[in-house]
């Protein structure tokens, strides 16, 4: 009864959205930065690069201080929240910019929320200064539930011995450290794997998004000091925070992608002629573009609402699930139609529409598609 009343109250309340002064500044800066630094020919050139990103650009991002945004000031960061990362990731998404930014920021959040004092002191300043990092969360069961763990750690002679495999570890080859989730005595645990421990254990995966990089990690027999494990009493909370933070940033990336692929398609519809007319004058295409655009606008409103209330129990969680669900659907639809509306050219690798469609599928595969997030909302609501 009380749960249903709470849902009714929530539905009746005025939905909240806002923009902090920092978010507004970052929006402006990111817009120019990403446009200048990630033109489409550069995105395409990086597809053939082994690391998949421009090391000099990564350095610039570090120098801008963006990696310290979500890090508290006493650990070398700027001490802002996840909401301030949204405008940055949104514009990276608009320009298909690919760096270890999201992977690093999320690994950083795992430490901020789940690390011991000593771990935070040791690692956070490095991460804020530009060391790349990543999270190893996914497993062969393909479940989005972060607590469904078959990779394990066990204690042997005062050491931790790991077993199992992790998948879809983004930019692992460039990471100074990877945080992996494992089960220890049936409970979830996060362990810090320094790059030195990962030699020979990494295999590059063939993923649908050619602009990104992911690796499988073989953990069998990997041995670590106990000091590499995050305090287990904080791990469940840290994993929940990771899912929320990742969903928020992926929603930002996908909103950016949706905007961009609508833009690219509009350009084509305004220049391509068939039967003597610009094809954008045909209503079957025009009206569908409007539907794609309207879906994008709704998703973007949810995105900045989620950024605004992030971290609040209940309302914050609900807002993030809505943002991810809406961004996933808006981007998937816009990119699907982008391929179709480019006609024969859309069927070629040279057409950029496929880059967006692949990125949309990747964005749904990581941390849940629209249906998954709607189920989460249903569980909170009903």
């Amino acid at each position: 009864m009380s749960a249903s009343n709470a849902t009714s109250d929530w539905a009746r309340a005025t939905p909240r959205i806002g923009l902090s002064e920092e978010q507004a500044q970052l929006l402006e800066v990111a817009e120019a930065f990403c446009r200048d630094k990630s033109p489409i020919d550069k995105v395409r050139a990086l597809i053939d690069d082994e690391t998949g990103f421009d090391a000099a650009l990564w350095q610039e991002i570090a120098e801008l201080g963006w990696l310290g945004i979500g890090v508290p000031e006493n650990y070398g960061g700027i001490g802002l929240g996840m909401g301030e990362l949204v405008p940055l990731v949104e514009h990276m998404g608009r320009h298909l910019m690919n760096t270890p930014f999201m992977a690093t920021v999320l690994a950083t959040q795992a430490l901020v929320r789940g690390g011991s004092e000593a771990q935070k002191e040791e690692y956070l300043p490095q991460l804020a200064a530009g060391a790349a990092a990543s999270l190893a969360l996914c497993e062969d069961h393909a479940d989005w539930n972060l607590e469904n763990l078959t990779a394990t750690a066990s204690r042997e002679n005062g050491k931790l011995v790991l077993s199992g495999k992790k998948y879809l570890v983004l930019h692992a080859a460039s990471a100074a450290m990877v945080l992996a989730s494992v089960a220890l005595d049936g409970q979830p645990a996060l362990v810090i794997l320094p790059a030195a421990a990962l030699g020979g254990r990494m295999t590059r995966e063939k993923i649908i998004d050619d602009t990104q990089r992911a690796y499988a990690l073989d953990l069998d027999g990997l041995t670590l000091d106990e000091a590499h494990m995050l305090p287990m009493d904080m791990t469940a909370d840290a994993l929940a925070h990771i899912e929320q933070a990742a969903s928020l940033l992926l929603a930002a990336d996908m909103c950016g992608g949706a905007f961009a692929c609508i833009d690219v398609t509009l350009d084509y519809l305004k220049t391509r002629k068939q039967f003597g007319k610009l094809i954008g004058s045909y209503q079957s295409l025009k009206h569908t573009m409007v539907d794609a655009h309207q879906a994008y606008e709704k998703a973007r409103s949810h995105l900045y609402s989620a950024a605004h209330v992030f971290g609040e129990q209940g309302e914050g969680e609900m807002a993030v699930h809505m943002a991810k669900a809406e961004a996933a659907e808006a981007f998937s639809f816009a990119a699907d139609r982008a391929i179709q509306f480019h006609g024969g050219f859309g069927f070629t690798y040279d057409c950029d529409a496929q880059l967006y469609r692949r990125r949309a599928i990747m964005g749904c595969a990581l941390h849940g598609d629209a249906r998954y997030h709607r189920r989460k909302i249903a569980a909170l609501m009903f």
Partner: protein, 435 residues
């Protein structure tokens, strides 16, 4: 810049101490400009309004009340709603922000917004004189002559003078620019001939905002149109009620046969009709503000659908327990929330500048389409009960969703169909070539 995050090319900042604490993390940090009114006064006003509506809203009405201003079909409904609007106006909760010298309350707009919100929350009966309040009134305040303002504004607010709109014609629904109703100057009069359709409250109206052709030989069809504030109770004006798909009334077809109206009914100059009509449509579509406030449509709100999903039975169980229903319900609740967020976001300039006018021009399409699907979904939750209609004891909630669904087409067709809206958005927001 330089307070935390530097622009490319600027020096990297060190630690920006205190940065995150320097700005209040309140809602709408940038959403609203600094208010130029007393916040305490607004709070008092809001509290008084809430108390007033709680005490005065009629709860026990023994006949069916219209859910929208387009459904006023009986004299009983009309008289009731006219009295109700008058009462709300006299209490100071309608046109609270319109100029005092013409009959408004002279407050900041935030006052009326607060009162309007309470009306929606309290689910009060609708405001009757919608076309006067929301389209004609703001138009007159913005561009009417002093005499027009003095003559019409107060009557609009008090519901003493009822307004209707004469834009669409039987042969020209979406193609408004092609209107053929003629207005010919004859001495101190114009003589009107022709026919208008979908005249909401046409049989009750005292005045019509009328789009008519004064010059059939103008260089293009738009320049031949003029805009009139035309009296309806004159000889030669006949209204014939139209029965709607719901079986109810609410619209008329209006026939002008050598109807004489005084020449000073012309608003602006001859040939400015299209321009003024377009401005009127901006009020109608919510793309321009200035409306008198008060709600003119009772929209189902998402909490109603939650209640329905809990009560209605599907396959012997509450509908809300069905996972497929849950997913659809969540999607609809998410969409309802987006509509509210869109209008909030439209006021946050940095988040509304990529494609100017996008959110304002998109709102009619988004909301009318949404409510149609919401009503259809509600019917789908009722099992065999979906078969019943208003007036049957077996109908769920007296058939409110069935009626609401059929009625929802008034909004997806009226005021420019959803297909016309897509053309407008496609061309004016997305920059696509004309169809």
């Amino acid at each position: 810049m330089g307070r935390g995050i530097v622009a490319p090319g600027e020096a990297r900042l060190g630690k920006a101490r205190g940065l995150s604490h320097s700005i209040a993390k309140g809602d709408f940090a940038m959403a609203d400009t600094a208010p130029d009114f007393d916040q305490q006064e607004l709070r008092d006003f809001t509290e008084q309004a809430k108390a007033w509506f709680q005490e005065n809203t009629p709860r026990e009405v023994d006949f069916m009340l219209p859910l929208t201003f387009m459904e006023v079909g009986t004299d009983q409904q009309f008289d009731f709603l006219r009295d109700w609007q008058n009462k709300v106006y006299e209490a100071g909760y309608l046109g609270a922000h319109w100029p005092r010298e013409y009959g408004g309350g002279g407050h900041h707009r935030a006052f009326q917004d607060a009162a309007t919100k309470i009306m929606a929350q309290e689910r009060t009966p609708i405001m009757l004189n919608a076309i006067g309040l929301n389209w004609t009134g703001p138009l007159l305040i913005d561009r009417g002559s002093e005499a027009e303002k003095q003559s019409y504004i107060k009557g609009i607010l008090s519901a003493e003078t009822i307004w209707c709109q004469g834009f669409s014609e039987p042969e020209h629904g979406s193609d408004l620019g092609n209107a053929q109703t003629r207005a010919v100057r004859d001495g101190d009069d114009y003589v009107i001939n022709g026919s208008k359709i979908w005249t909401t409250q046409g049989n009750y109206a005292d005045y019509m905002i009328l789009l008519a052709r004064t010059n059939p030989d103008a260089e293009n069809k738009y320049k031949g149109l003029s805009f009139f504030l035309a009296p309806m109770k004159n000889d030669g004006v006949e209204t014939v009620p139209i029965r709607k798909l719901t079986g109810e009334y609410g619209f008329t077809q209006t026939f002008f046969t050598d109807a004489r109206i005084p020449a000073d009914c012309l608003m602006g100059q001859e040939g400015e009709g299209w321009l003024i009509a377009m401005q009127t449509l901006e009020y109608e579509r919510g793309a321009r503000s200035g409306q008198a406030g008060g709600h003119v449509m009772m929209m189902a709100d998402p909490t109603d659908i939650l209640g329905l999903a809990r009560e209605a039975k599907l396959n012997g169980k509450p509908a809300i327990e069905d996972p497929a229903v849950q997913e659809e319900l969540v999607a609809l609740m998410t969409e309802a929330r987006a509509l509210g967020l869109n209008s909030r976001r439209d006021k946050i300039q940095p988040l509304a500048q990529d494609r100017p006018m996008s959110l304002a021009l998109g709102s009619k399409l988004a909301s009318t389409d949404f409510y149609q699907r919401l009503n259809a979904f509600a019917i789908s939750l009722q099992g065999t009960r979906a078969a019943y209609y208003v007036g049957d004891d077996s109908a769920h909630d007296n058939g409110i969703w069935q009626r609401g669904y059929l009625n929802s087409f008034s909004a997806t067709i009226g005021g420019g169909t959803s297909q016309i809206q897509r053309n407008i958005i496609g061309e004016h927001v997305l920059g696509l070539p004309k169809s």
